[in-house]
Amino acid sequence: MITKKQKQNLADIVGEDYFSSEKFMTDIYSSDIAALPGIVNDVINPQAEAVAQPTTTEIVSNLLKYCKQHNIPVVPRGHGTSGYGGALPTRGGLVVEMTRLNEIHHIDRDNMTVEVGSGIIWGKLIEDLEDEGLAVAAYPSSAPSSTVAGWVAAGGSGIGSTKYGGISEQVVDLEVVLPDGEVIRTKDTSEEVFKIETGKKVFKGDDNFHWEVSDNVPYSADSTQLFVDSNGTLGIITKVLLKIIPLRNIRPITASFRSQNLMAGALLDILEATRPFYLHFITDKFYRMLRKVDQAPPTTGEFIISCAFEGSDDEIETEIEKLKHIVSRYSGTVESMEVADHEWDERFYPMRIKRLGPSLAPSEVYVPLENLDGYLNHVNKHFKAEEFALEGAITDRGEVAVLTWFPDDERRRISFLTGWYRSLDVINIGLKHGGRAYSIGMWNAAHSRSYYGKDNYAKMSALKRKKDKKGYLNSHKVFPGPLVLSTRLNLLIMVIAGIVAPIVIWLAGILVPSIIQAYVPWVVVNNLPSFLIWFVVGLLVGFIVTEFANLIPISVVLSIGTPFLRFFRKIFH
């Protein structure tokens, strides 16, 4: 709980105009693009108490120093365009929104880099670089509204990643404000930053949650990659030094196929024979949904590959000729330029089909391209009773970021809640096919260790332990955190326990009186005072239950809960 005085102090640090604690404002900054089942509000506390929009690195540093000192939870936020919960508050606190750090500081043509404020929007950066005859090598499909550091913090791949890699390949250096307010440049990080002063083997990430880390973390001066993908748990990024490339022609081309395996085969060959800038597919289910919302131009087949090549006209022409041969080998059809342009323009619009829901439950996982066909077959079989759409984008590592969309209706509470299992199942199926989680955020925190790799995760944990022992900075993200039951749910559990306890005792007295008399004759409910006594005992038991519940990590709850959700979905759907 941020006190009134603390709010005033925070407003003084960031400036009155850049601070708000009004309810309508904190509501808006307490969500990302994912619609969450109502019960989530009762098991974490996704309601920020205040929002700050810092305008300089120094202000970010001062904010963090103040919040750490007063144990105010802080959630860094770009523009809230992800759906993995990385920017969701979990214990109230302060949301630090970075969109005012939006300058282009320096373009270095010799080293082909650009230094930008962390909150600049990709779309704006792309436009401004274009004026200089330059371009970024890769950008996210949310580029019209997502911030540069938002993608850096969330990780992943995007448009251009087929040729130039994901965001981690684009970042050269970062300016980061660590949880204790220290400002560092990641490319040349002092050893002092990582030096562990205590020899403790247990990291206390949250007050109530512990896990082990190793102290034997090798030091490397360039810690940039440690902060990429780290969801703002290790610090708040304030500047990003990105690779840039010369602005060159981009020509899209689209091909359609009659079946999934032909499409999957063609994708493999295209990646082997050419170097596309962008390589993306949608399956028949997605195509049909797009048709329902008037966004599918007529094509010969319903399995669509959209591709774009970048380079000189001659280079592009050569690549397109190769692609045409592959398409014909797989009995596909190269569609018209109008279709290709349409698909290229639609690269920013994966959620067109949301209108069919009107909600969408998404899930994304990386799968090796050679296993794509098997993975898609598995998903199709697993969710045969569900309506869903599949699309994917291929990266330079030969992986496919497969995105599954389940149209749903958040207004139907129970069915929407039970449908949550699908998002978790998609990832598990992906793992079975040699894949990995796409991004960690909050909902995939259970996969952190395998996602980051043992060594990297150990380094991250060590830094977290050193700089943010209490886990005030973006708690529950990357490092799993426990439930934060709402007061409403706490009281409900206590009252239910209070009522159930005397009723159970009363029923036991009727059903098995001999056992009660023999072993616990003092356990009896036969009048109002005894009912009240056991009601109070029940309340206390309920209280203990809630305290225990507040120790259970969300990731564990999700793992245990998924089979139940799946079971209830079958009943209610």
Binding site: I121, K354, P358
Partner: protein, 392 residues
């Protein structure tokens, strides 16, 4: 008394806040958001708040009502929307709901009173409708209220604001040079009703619409020419919506640019003089995004010898707003000027010395922006460029 959110529910748009993907694409094209950088000001933020209000049938609170009017209705949000939400209509109906709650901003109530009493937004006597003709008296003195196939509909801004009268003068000069037989309605011209449509006061606008169409029909008019895209949109889109398509049957409504282009193609006017200027073109929202009319003005400008058309980075359907739409000039004039200044900054980047458009509201706003920035750019309305290029 209407039921909560009846305007939105009647048109089935009450679900749209739930359809919103919260992707935020609308934020960085929204002039109001860019003015504040607070999400509460963006379409996404407003929809977020409306979603739970509509669900719970709770009335729009005053602060949200004010924010819904802190919007130029430029339609950039609709253009970029991930889920194709008809946001222009949505905001109009949300404003209607605000009107139903008697929470219209003071300026809207003032305009409402003015329109009820004087049939124009300036609260001036209808007899002064021809004030703008002072400088072209000789060209219009025998055109008032006569029967003709072509009518020039000046609109309230041009009729009553001296700084905009030149638009009417130039149009009349061009018509005269082309030998067009035209009429003007003078005091029979009532406000087109656009301020009502923008504020969601559709029923109030009905009477004005009916009167204007009746007056035009009485004079045997077939083609109505407008300098004001707001008036044009009211006639071309709102009137049929409000009164039925049959009410506008037999009429064609032309913006100035389209009318001039027709005169050019028919050979009734010809640009002979050299006009050695670079011109940055600003697409008025109510003509461009709202009605998908982008080319006529460009064709006219390209037909002028020596004139070099310079496109701004954000043009056509991606053009940014001048800050003058949606009644923002009345509800939040300071913000409106800041938005205008941003558009001027973008125009300066083209290197052009002149900025042009065809809209009285854009003219006012962009001139304010030039003044605010102390820019060296000059703003010239399309009619002015055409008249100068024709040597009129």
């Amino acid at each position: 008394m209407t039921k909560p959110y009846e305007p939105l529910k009647f048109e089935g748009l009450d679900i749209e806040p739930t359809v919103c993907a919260k992707c935020g694409f609308c934020t960085f094209v929204c002039p109001a958001y860019l003015d504040t950088l607070w999400d509460s000001q963006s379409p996404r933020g407003k929809l977020h708040q409306l979603r739970s209000l509509i669900k719970d049938n709770k009335p729009i609170p005053s602060d949200l009502a004010a924010r819904i009017f802190y919007c130029t209705l430029c339609g950039a949000c609709q253009e970029i929307c991930q889920t194709n939400i008809p946001l222009l209509r949505f905001w109009q109906l949300a404003r209607q709901e605000i009107g139903n709650l008697n929470k219209w901003p003071e300026i809207v109530n003032y305009i409402d009173d003015s329109l009820q009493q004087t049939q124009n937004i300036m609260e001036m006597d209808q007899a002064d409708r021809t004030l703008w003709t002072d400088m072209v008296d000789d060209l219009v003195e025998d055109k008032i209220g006569i029967e003709a196939e072509v009518a020039y509909f000046a609109g309230c801004n041009i009729s009553f604001k001296g700084t905009l009268a030149h638009m009417g003068e130039n149009t009349v000069k061009v018509m005269n040079a082309a030998g067009v037989d035209f009429t003007i309605l003078a005091d029979e011209e009532f406000c087109c009703g656009n301020p009502y449509f923008v504020a969601g006061g559709f029923e109030n606008g009905k009477e004005l619409a009916t009167h204007n169409l009746k007056a035009l029909k009485r004079l045997g008019v077939k083609t109505v020419v407008f300098n004001c895209p707001g008036c044009h949109r009211a006639f071309a889109e709102e009137y049929p919506h409000l009164l039925g398509k049959e009410a506008v049957e037999g009429f064609e409504f032309l913006p100035f640019s389209e009318f001039v282009l027709r005169l050019l193609k028919e050979g009734k006017i010809k640009f002979d003089k050299d006009y050695p200027h670079e011109v940055a073109w600003h697409d008025p929202c109510e003509l461009g995004r709202h009605q998908n009319i982008y080319n006529p003005a460009r064709e006219v400008l390209n037909a002028i010898p020596g004139l070099k058309l310079k496109e701004m980075k954000h043009n056509r359907n991606k053009a940014r707003c001048c800050g003058g739409g949606g009644l923002l000039k009345g509800t939040n004039p300071v913000a409106s000027v800041r938005i205008s200044a941003r558009r001027i900054e973008a125009a300066e980047k083209t290197g052009a010395s002149i900025m042009s458009s065809e809209c009285p509201s854009c003219t006012m706003s962009l001139n304010d922006g030039i003044e605010h920035l102390e820019s060296q750019m000059k703003f010239k309305d399309l009619s002015q460029i055409v008249a100068e290029a024709l040597g009129l």
